[in-house]
Symmetry: D2
Subunit: 475 residues, 4 copies
């Protein structure tokens, strides 16, 4: 879905906007979806929702907040049903917009229809203006609503045909779960921007953004939903359709770098190992003479730091400790106490850092402010030198395919030399992994993934850009 404005990325990370999960034909489908969303919490922490159906009535529970807070026993009992789809998301600025929490549930000439969307349409605004011109009304700011209007306007007869009709009119990134009274339809856009996997719990088909959600419910990972594939699940079983023109897939490489959980398999490969390999490649490309130790920024830099340490032979040390309880609401007290910045999350260990030449490993630098604070913290703990190594190339461009990125102006790597960035963050040295190194690490070659945020090569054109849409925001 496309909120009109972007959530601020408080710890200077790019943010996945959404995670989706669905179960067809299990007495505990809604409960399993709750668990699936819990495992996908990292893909969207601001709101969560489930819509379920018993084949006739629909039930919904959508709330602002984390999964564990959004649902209670009473809610889970109320929505208990054998078909369910769920969604986690980031909130838009301004916050209180429950109207934007998914799954969306509408009634139209075909009956009930619910949808959960991960991704971002690049012609949503264009389509929206067209739809409005013919009299459509919008109750949210999500591009997902555009898809629903197109489904409802379609003159085709079946839901499958209507969905195909609708999706043939939109362009962009979408991993989608549709649910009617008797079908769940899973679709991944032809470019396959966002991940989507198929699993089985016994005979029950389960669809999820990442395999970690399958693991939690003890479902078996079966395979990727392929780019351009549509899975139709109903009483007849599961049918795979490929209704879209074939295009070169370009799945998001940043899922490997940061978004996905390390214990997930994404696009068929285990994420943790790829991150460790990024660290290995980084050590090869950007070694540091005479460093004393490798220290990850927890938890994002841990796997790469491990690889870096192994390859470089430098000892790994957990010189920065992460507070477990961060994530809960925290009230910053009065102004007379100085700003805590990153302190509430990280604390350096003087014993480890004092007098040492430290290689700090992280996966990305977005605005640079957090890296700046971390480096100052490491220096304050007595480090003699601080060398920053980033296990991905510089993030130079915004994403229009479903990731919450700041504007180009806010991206510190946009139009700046590495040394300028180094000065800003205050490191003794700074290096990034090259695009080639990144591809080596993920055992692939350029062209096989969307790397637009690093390379500026946007696989599909962003129509709405002409309409003044700045950065691609998504669901």
């Amino acid at each position: 879905m496309t909120p009109l404005s972007m959530a601020s990325s408080e710890d200077d990370k790019l943010r996945e906007y959404c995670g989706i999960f669905g179960v067809y034909g299990h007495p505990e489908a809604a409960n399993l979806t709750y668990l699936g969303l819990y495992a996908l919490q990292h893909r969207g922490q601001e709101a969560a929702g489930i819509v379920s159906t018993d084949g006739s009535a629909f039930f919904e529970h959508r709330r602002m907040g984390m999964v564990a807070d959004a649902f209670n026993r009473q809610a889970l009992e109320r929505i208990r049903a054998p078909m369910a789809i769920g969604h986690v998301r980031y909130s838009t600025a301004g916050g209180n917009t429950l109207a934007n929490v998914q799954p969306v549930w509408i009634r139209y000439k075909g009956g009930n229809l619910s949808v959960a969307h991960n991704g971002n349409l690049v012609n949503a605004l264009t389509m929206r203006l067209e739809l409005e011109a013919r009299g459509s009304i919008f109750q949210s700011t999500m591009d997902t609503e555009v898809i629903l209007h197109l489904v409802a306007c379609s003159l085709r007869k079946t839901l499958v045909d209507r969905v195909i009709d609708a999706l043939n009119q939109v362009r962009g990134a979408y991993s989608l779960l549709f649910m009617s009274e008797d079908q769940i339809i899973a679709v991944r856009d032809p470019s396959g921007f966002r991940p989507l996997v198929l699993g089985r719990l016994g005979d029950t088909p389960v669809i999820a953004s990442e395999t970690c959600a399958l693991d939690l419910i003890d479902a078996t990972y079966e395979r990727e939903v392929e780019p351009g594939e549509m899975l139709v699940i109903d009483k007849q079983g599961m049918t795979s359709i490929r209704p879209f023109p074939v295009t070169t897939p370009s799945p998001c490489i940043f899922e490997y770098v940061y978004f996905a959980r390390p214990d997930s398999r994404v696009y068929g490969q285990g994420v943790y190992e790829l991150r460790r390999r990024m660290g290995v490649e980084l050590a090869r490309e950007c070694p540091i003479e005479g460093a004393d130790l490798v220290c990850p920024v927890p938890d994002s830099g841990v796997a790469a730091a491990l690889g870096y340490a192994q390859e470089s032979g430098l000892p790994l040390q957990m010189g920065l400790v992460r507070n477990h309880y961060v994530g809960r609401t925290f009230i910053e007290p009065q102004q007379s106490i100085r700003n805590f910045g990153v302190k509430i999350k990280l604390n350096p260990i003087r014993d480890v850092l004092e007098g040492r030449r430290v290689v700090v490993i992280d996966d990305s630098i977005v605005r640079g402010t957090t890296s700046q604070k971390i480096i100052r913290m490491v220096r304050d703990a007595g480090a003699q030198e601080v060398h920053m190594r980033i296990s991905a190339p510089p993030t130079t461009g915004p994403c229009y395919y479903g990731i919450n990125t700041p504007t180009e102006e806010e991206l510190i790597a946009h139009g700046r030399e590495v040394d300028e960035i180094r000065q800003f963050i205050g490191a003794d040295s700074l290096s990034y992994l090259s695009i080639e190194g990144l591809y080596r690490a993920v055992r692939s070659t350029p062209g096989k993934f969307c790397d637009a945020c690093f390379s500026g090569n946007y696989p599909i054109e962003v129509d709405d850009r002409a309409l003044g849409v700045k950065a691609g925001t998504s669901g």
Copy 2:
């Protein structure tokens, strides 16, 4: 709005579905709307909402629950703006349907539009099927959404013309407040089923369902919004339009009997005095020989009991005491404690009732179960005789114009003789005010009001009935 199913009427009263309130051009418009809704709480206790605008951005706060619980200081600060409309409503069965809480706020080709609706369309389902056929999607079960689709589909150029266009396609009961970036439009359907008044706070126009909401904010009552009138309020001031074919007005007479607050003026007359007069007429029509005292069912029967006592010369006694704290959630404890029924709300005073021949006055009997419990309670307190007098005619038919009524089968007076009802409720005698008596009390004559629930004369046909819609439910 039309929820698909009806709320159960727990204390055996018909229920108004909604109250609306709006302010144009006051720095505290949203706060005043909060107060107005507080005063209209009796018209809808299950949900409340306000949408406001500063002429550019729109703000909304909608919640399940009573007004005082639904809003906190933070919410009121967030929605502070100089134009605002608000809504209170009853919930539908199943409860948790925030999607049905008004005001609705959409974006369409004309920009933003918000609407608050009190009433019920009689061709909503018909229109909905037509709209769905052309591809419209519905995100709620409210008939209000039909109106919004019609506005959005209209080919007219201005909001006023679009609203006229839309309302010319619907039939039924509607008192409506529309709000765009720069206008508030108040409309009352040609039959004038539901009340709507215009007031002024200084120069600021204020629109409300009842005058008691004007009183609370110290606004002056100016006049009724007339049946079929549309008031357009914007920078140019206020314009009155009468865009609909003229018809005989038929405002709801039950507002006088029960719904409106006694301190409100409705259709130009003070409600309390009319209720007292109903008691007077009742005493004339149905005197009781040898009764000792008149006892109202508080609070609904108080004004009529006063009139009855005055006319009959019998002493008035408050023999039933109402618990002030009812209305808050109450947990009925374990089954081993017998059901409390009406006891949690009313307690009889033995001193007053013991050994007496008591005339109990109430305004209506819907299902009969509560009257039955009250009469048993009065007898248990020692009353020698219990004579029930109802200050309105028997409620024999459901309402399709905005009132929550049970089905005909549930209405105890539907197809039953008065004596059958008397036996059911266990009274020594039972009488109702005649329709003629009711009209005398309200200083009018039959034909001037909608009295369908008493007479079966439905002023406008209920199209949706053919589609299987059972009872008129409304917003």
Copy 3:
């Protein structure tokens, strides 16, 4: 209990500090206590608590807030047990003092002991200083804690003897419920300042501050717990003891005037009828020539107004309407909207009041500010004359026996002539019922009740006064 400071009396009424309730030997004792507290809500709206025991373990649930908000199903399930005592109370200024919420539950050499207290000790501070001198620690500001220390310090062997020992050292007002593992002890001080009644639910003994709590659970009213009586309830049954020196009882007459619910029997008489009789006496003592109607301030003045109207022959009219939803938290909006004062609670009916000479009836004037606002409101609604009649004598002195009264300086009737008060509140005339009239109404004679707040005759001396304790505040 004695909070150190007094709660402000927001609607200008004196406030009862507490209500107590207890059940011995019923499987649903805790649930019944919850219901009993619900019925006693008017005696304390700021906090509620229940302590229960199964004869071995003790359970407690104490919370700030009204009964319906303080308990949920989970809490009631957790405290389910066959013996229970409960308490409702007003909070002290500053609010968040959960430590002051009763029943108190301690462990001491005798085992567990819980207590609920309605009343106020007049030598609490004196005793507290003595106890502190010997090393006692206090965890609340309640005088109830003094009693517990005295029980724990007693050298007697049985709980009954210890309680007698303790109570022989304190002076003042106390209706008390003690609960140990195997006994409930109900005590009323020798003066009998605060009410306490004994009821039966089947064979189960029930103790309550007022009979309305018995009514709700369908318990039968048996009799008063007599002044100076101690009821010991345990497996052996119920024993009545009179362990204190006999004194002339002086129960609080203000319970009849305002505190008790009208449907309660207090000191053996029905409250509603006595209030009606106060109106009758008032009409005899202070008639008004040429008045048009009698209008009560709802709900406190209703019964007296009824009596006044009956005796005077003037018509009764409900010219002031009370908002049912008051009592819930209400957020006063921005300053630019004028203060609502009494408006949020009362609304006048212009039809009834305009051009009339109105007799307004209330039960008391404490500070005078609310009466002033009401009279202005009645005048603004067009009344030609406003005559205030108060169904009790002027409140001239504070209470030290369990009622929350303002200081003498704040009591408008303290040291002021009636005409000064009349001028302040802005009435055309003002009269109070005489003390003799009040005694006639309650079918008694001076000397039989504590009327200190009217007469200045304090039945027992207030020791703590010498220590600077200003007004008697209580539990």
Copy 4:
């Protein structure tokens, strides 16, 4: 404090019962205490409280729940004051016992006194019985209340002398913060069982359980509060007293093994480095031939695993991933979904573990159930062999000095051979670090610490044991 029963240790860890924090003489003392408690959250997650004073009035806020949930802005504003002490704790079984949440605040002959306690008295029950015998009452089940009674009963004149008097009568573990109107007194028992440090924020003295709390507020670590030392902080500055008989210190060695945060300095040494050294010693003592990789149980085993890997030369791999969002309430759904056990917290990475001989590192095994589940999980992920290595000796005995331990029967290492444990948890091999190895790792020698849970050598006798107190539970 001593709850009468122990909290169950849901993830099979021993639990610290409490953390304490205090600030003397800073305008934001209460806010700083809030932050300090936030940093000490790992020492007690079930309740939190702060008591503050402006030198005259005392303010308190105590709640069940985590620090971030227990305090909101309003609460922090209400308690803003220049002196404050705070406390975090584990709850007792049964939960809802707000009475047990610290700091305790009493009034006694000396005025106000508040106290926060980390530790456990071994003669609390003995003293309690004595105190009860002389008439003391107890409102909680905490041993801390015993100390307060002793202070209040003391015949000495100053608070310092009274505290000394009181503490000379108790035995056991206590790190204490007392606060009166004008003093904060920090005391650590002569054995120094629990840690306590002194820091400075500018000139402001700050006392905390661990240095990580100083770090968060940017206070400088000054030194340990020494075993047996009493720091008196008031307007005259800070005075150090040593009022107790000198004994051999025996600080808890388990703080190093698990309780303290790795970024804290405890007893003068950095915790992280000591844990890493435990891993090194473990690798020396218990190498594994032909293992493929070292995998920590996150996060408790990370530092030791790092040391193990470094010493053994085996690669470190994060083969188990911890869900960040655990800690929030989680609703286990219906029974038909199989039990999740440890799954909700940990997920294995198949890529890393499949076909490998894995060394799993953790810091302790308490009941064995969690280790069993983890090993099964690692096997299910395809590991060929699973070798468990524990970086501390077997936990064979309960703690009576402030740690929540299960009973001896529940401790799997109590009376069992290592091989029996290995069989139970299902590992291919299992080894523990020796006591000697542990002492080498912490750069000390046996006798310098309390290692009773490993060795059975209890430094001070547990008087209450004779009274049937089973395991040492503490505050």
